[in-house]
């Protein structure tokens, strides 16, 4: 299958503007994640915000979030991901979408 040599993921995300809020609008309950075998958020999040850790948990960041909602919709562990909108004026700012 094709790999993606031309633009690194980091570079890809830098092309989109994010006004990062102080408050994290995503929280993840580590204990729920450690019991989760599918970790659907890891593959599905378009911004690649969820990274599995060696102890079976999830490391996440909220800074470059598209605010799409995919993570909580695919999460099959009730209450593991708490997702709200970022505080007003913050978060993603699309320009040419």
């Amino acid at each position: 299958m094709t790999d993606y040599p031309s633009v690194s993921f980091e570079d890809r995300m830098e092309r989109t503007e994010f006004r990062v809020a102080e408050r994290a609008h995503i929280t993840v309950d580590g204990d729920s994640c450690r019991g989760c075998t599918t970790k659907a958020c890891v593959v599905a999040c378009p911004a690649n915000l969820f990274v599995p850790t060696s102890d079976g948990g999830i490391l996440f960041n909220y800074e470059q979030c598209f605010e799409c909602g995919t993570c909580y919709l695919v999460c099959n562990t009730e209450g593991a991901i708490t997702w709200t909108y970022p505080d007003g004026g913050h978060g993603v700012v699309f320009r040419r979408t």
Binding site: T2, T16, V43, P46, L73, G88, G89, V93
Partner: protein
């Protein structure tokens, strides 16, 4: 006295249209937007069908911030090594009143919200609605916001807060939140010189092209799109959530496959990625629609799953605007009646039932599911491509086989059962016929 008469949450196309319709009545209208400006949170898969604006902004096409007018509309059926394209052009679509347009949503939505302000609505940006206010009867009577002292009371709330609508969920209107009803769209906006776009897509002036693509998402139900702006091309995928989550390849990797397909790659080659974006889409249409009304509140646009994903018709902005206009007018009517309960707000449902919004959705109710079925996603594209390849492959010195023979052979090879084919055709006819 309430802070405002009608409070519209979300200044996307549904909210802006609702605010325009409501503010023109002279009532006090507030339009709340969580982004720094209207449209800043919004992206889409390519075409705005603007005729729905005729009734609220005459000659809208003279002022709307449009990138290109779509005069070339293609449907592409892909297999990993084949492409079968139905490519239609109509010069008439390049002249008023036009048909479809491409635009940057931050421009377009901001422009539409400007009309709400011009009509007298108060636009408040950078403010997130975080919950509903309810009176002692339980009726919605405003929202809490994330501003200090940020309660906003209103006689009617119009929830246009998008596909994740926390307001509709909090009001208990939205039971259909299973992942299978949703897709995620991912999109790259790619810079190319205007002359290169014109040449590659065979376009002139402000004419544009829109390609809808099926068969490009592997085992994940979904599709692709490719369309032209003035000096950018947008290419993207729509992927159904449960199947995306159940496999191992990430959205940008799947999109890279589409970009590398021999039928797509020459169109975008050499372009520079300007912006990457993603958004969730309410895919199931009529099957997933929430209750549209409760005491003190109506729901419109993506928040009410008004997006139409019916294969050959992929429309959302027009349905958002149509439902927004209906919601705004119904809210005004309820105010005048002095009854903003679910009974007084019943005009909303009546309006969307009688125009295209629910008429189209109801008629096409079974189509999104049919489009997402494995046969339509994979078997039929492969079958169609193989049949066409056989027809156009010259087999000299062997004489040409007849079409009937080719279709029989390929149908057998595809494993598609005639009964299933007939059932799918029947379901298709019911929706499209």
């Amino acid at each position: 006295m309430t802070d405002t008469d009608i409070l519209v949450v979300g200044a996307g196309p549904a909210g802006a249209a609702a605010a325009i319709a409501a503010a023109r009545s002279g009532l006090r209208v507030t339009l709340l937007e969580r982004g720094p400006f209207p449209g800043s949170k919004n992206m889409y898969g390519g075409v705005i069908y603007g005729r729905v604006l005729d009734g609220i902004i005459p000659r809208w096409w003279e002022e709307a911030p449009i990138q290109r007018w779509v005069t070339r509309r293609a449907t592409m059926v892909l297999t990993p090594t084949q492409a079968l394209t139905v490519d239609f052009r109509a010069d008439a679509w390049g002249e008023p009143p036009y048909n479809g347009a491409t635009a940057f949503r931050p421009d377009f939505d901001n422009w539409l919200a400007g009309h709400a302000v011009a009509a007298g609505a108060q636009l408040i940006c950078s403010t997130t609605a975080v919950g509903l206010l309810r009176d002692d009867t339980g009726a919605v009577c405003g929202v809490r916001t994330d501003r200090p002292d940020g309660d906003l009371s209103a006689r009617v709330v119009i929830a246009c807060d998008g596909v994740n609508s926390f307001l509709a969920k909090e009001a208990g209107l939205y039971p259909h939140t299973a992942a299978e009803h949703f897709t995620v769209g991912v999109k790259e906006t790619i810079a190319l010189p205007r002359a290169v776009i014109d040449e590659r897509f065979g376009l002139r002036g402000d004419h544009g092209a829109d390609y809808e693509i099926i068969g490009c998402t592997g085992d994940i139900p979904g599709g692709g799109f490719l369309y032209t702006n003035r000096d950018t091309v947008a290419v993207g995928l729509v992927l159904r959530l449960p199947e995306l989550a159940a496999q191992s390849r990430r959205p940008e990797e799947l999109l890279a496959d589409l970009k590398a397909h021999p039928a797509v790659q020459p169109l975008i080659e050499g372009g520079e990625l300007l912006e990457y974006s993603a958004h969730v889409i309410p895919e199931s249409g009529f099957e997933m629609m929430p209750e549209l009304t409760c005491d003190g509140m109506v729901v419109a646009g993506d928040a009410a799953a008004m997006c139409l994903a019916a294969g050959i018709w992929l429309e959302g902005v027009n349905f958002a605007i149509g439902s927004g206009i209906a919601a705004g007018r119904a809210a005004v009517e309820a105010m005048r009646l002095g009854d903003t309960s679910v009974v007084g707000l019943a005009g909303y449902r009546r309006r969307v039932e009688s125009d295209f919004v629910l008429t189209d959705h109801r008629k096409l109710a079974g189509i999104p599911e049919l489009i997402m079925s494995p046969r339509v996603q994979r078997s039929y594209p492969q079958l169609a491509a193989n049949v066409v390849e056989r027809i156009f492959t010259v087999t000299n010195p062997v004489p040409k086989p007849g079409f009937g023979r080719i279709v029989r052979d390929e149908l057998k090879a595809s494993g598609v059962r005639l009964g299933d084919l007939a059932r799918d055709a029947w379901r298709g006819m019911k929706g499209f016929g």
